[in-house]
Amino acid sequence: MSATPLPPQPAPPRPRGFTLGHRIPPPSGEYRWVYLWDAPLRAMHWLAAIAIVALAVTGFYIGKPYFITGGAESADPFVMGWMRFIHFASAAVLVMTAIVRGYWLLAGNKFERFAALFPVRPRDWVNMWKQAKFYMLMERHPPAYLGHNPMQQLSYTGIYLVAAVMVVTGFALYGQSNPGGLINRGFAWVPALAGGIQMVRFIHHVLTWVLIIFIPMHIYLAMRADTLERTGVISSIITGGRFVDAKEKFIDAEDA
């Protein structure tokens, strides 16, 4: 991608006291900008993030209405109605992001394509263990990847799977509002497979927690990579690229 070399620059003076990231190897002074995430992928990431938060908030109300609308006539407030509308609308957005992401598995660059979802090579398993040791504070530096490291690949693919199950179970539940309709008939295999519509409801409910547990870990590890290793990953999901040391060798740089 675009690799504009920058002139060598002196490192800025550092303040005394405690700062994170001080043990990063001295940069060579040359940087290049690598473009990783295409615009559709970034847009889908943030749309899905918003949709998932909206789905969780409204979904928990639908699962157990955590406040009661008192007093007025039933015709007046429409709380559950709006909650369900927002839930279904956000679900539609999430399905749309999944469709675009699915297309981008074919159309995207090598960091976005189908093969990048699965850490199946022996090299990947070695580096996943190194990454785990880094998180256990047993390794000074994680394996250097431009795109997703094997542990990210595994967890993001897992989240895709969870989201897929959420979508399928969600459609099975939604389809019941129009018995005999297209969605109802198209997803009739889901309760048959799960052992009844209540079990579908249960799976849909439990997997919400998996997505919620993922959020703090995802944000923390992204911030950690940015502060400790100065990888610029947070910027990369906004601008699409990040600055890297021009001399640094990356494991996935030569991958097809």
């Binding site: 490192a11 001080h22 699962g63 209405p65 209540q198 249960f202 927690w209 870990m217």
Partner: protein
């Protein structure tokens, strides 16, 4: 009519005579037929045809056998919304054999069944209530020395069609709930070569049975069914979508526990475990005991009794979601989920703290002196 006809209904009396004796005018009878046609969704114009079918001298007879069950279905069915006409259609006009309702008993009843089945072979409508225990060669239910499976197979042999009435005949009901010690199954799992319609419910609504029988008498076939063999005219819509408390649901007005303010105001029972959103049944429209009331109307959540496997899948009846077995009280899903979410956040914080400590130690060990004026440790050595 054969010897099987209940003694309190003389075989010589015509249906018109019986109606007249009960004070039912021709007009009332036609109105009843019209309402049945509307229930079935076939249109009012079919009412004369239905009336003719019900009044016909050579109508198909109905054989009703009762297997592994509690007789609740019979109790429900004899309480049709129009007892004077409805029970006539079901119990008195066509019913040639019924364990509970017939006067005969013992050998007389058995031979009555055999005679009725032989006389109408290939033409009668078979109504089955109760499940069929298959475990240990079916020894858990025998009548007159024959197992339920044998009785059912014999009766089904000459049946034009079979109505599996109630949850037991549908899929086995409470005796088929885990662990199902008697191996109870529904009719459709034993009889594969005859049309079976499932009138789901524990017990089902009488009018659904009456309408199904009337449909068979009029058109000579069973009504259209859904994927689980239930007639669409009755089980084609969800309770939730027909519920008079739906406005309270949409408004966010819920009973949180029984006898609270919401319960007194008749709000939605969703939070106390109502299975209406997962249950297909005409209860809100047909209601029970001559349109008197129905469970949700009486302030009790729906338990989903028209759905296959409801004793296992719809429990706990007063909870929204299935229980997690084998973990104890702390393992309620939301508590577990919230604990894991808090745990993950706490783990993240702990990990960040451990990283900081680790960093400080590293710095002390590897960087003995840092001159504040010379930049930082990241500065290349000159």
């Amino acid at each position: 009519m054969s010897f099987a006809a209940p003694s309190w209904f003389p075989a010589t009396e015509s249906v018109e005579d019986e109606l007249a004796r009960r004070g039912v005018s021709r007009r009332e009878f036609m109105e009843y037929c019209s309402s049945l046609c509307i229930v079935l969704g076939v249109g009012k114009s079919e009412a004369p045809r239905m009336a003719a079918a019900i009044l016909a001298d050579r109508r198909p007879s109905v054989i009703w056998i009762q297997l592994q069950e509690c007789t609740g279905c019979v109790e429900s069915v004899i309480r049709t919304s129009e007892p004077s006409i409805g029970t006539l259609v079901l119990d008195q006009i066509s019913l040639d054999f019924s364990h509970t309702l017939m006067a005969a008993a013992g050998h007389a009843a058995e031979s009555a069944a055999a005679a009725a089945m032989a006389a109408e072979k290939g033409k009668y409508l078979l109504v089955v209530t109760g499940s069929i225990p298959l475990a240990d060669d079916g020894i858990y239910l025998t009548i007159g020395g024959r197992t339920a499976k044998v009785i059912l197979e014999e009766a089904a042999e000459g049946a034009a069609a079979i109505i599996a009435l109630g949850a037991c005949a549908h899929w086995g009901s409470v005796q088929a709930a885990r662990p199902n010690p008697t191996g109870a199954v529904g009719v459709s799992e034993v009889i594969k070569n005859r049309p079976v319609v499932n009138i789901a419910g524990c017990p089902p609504i009488a009018d659904v049975v009456t309408a199904t029988v009337a449909h068979f008498l009029t058109f000579g076939r069973l009504p259209a069914v859904d994927g689980d063999g239930r007639p669409l005219f009755a089980y084609g819509a969800r309770i939730h979508d027909q519920c008079p408390k739906r406005a309270n649901f949409d408004a966010g007005q819920f009973v949180e526990k029984f006898d609270d303010e919401g319960a007194r105001k008749g709000w939605c029972l969703y939070e106390v475990g109502c299975k209406g959103p997962a249950t297909f049944s005409p209860c809100p429209i047909f209601q029970w005991n001559s349109h008197t009331d129905w469970p949700i109307g009486a302030g009790h959540p729906c338990i989903g009794c028209t759905e296959r496997g409801f004793w296992d899948t719809m429990t706990p009846f007063y909870g929204r979601l299935p229980d997690v077995g084998g973990f104890g009280i702390e393992s309620k899903v939301d508590i577990l989920g919230a604990a894991l979410a808090i745990g993950a956040t706490a783990g993240v914080v702990a990990h960040a703290a451990a990283t900081s400590v680790h960093q400080m130690r590293e710095r002390k060990r590897s960087l003995p002196v840092v001159d504040p004026t010379s930049g930082g440790p990241g500065t290349p050595k000159a």
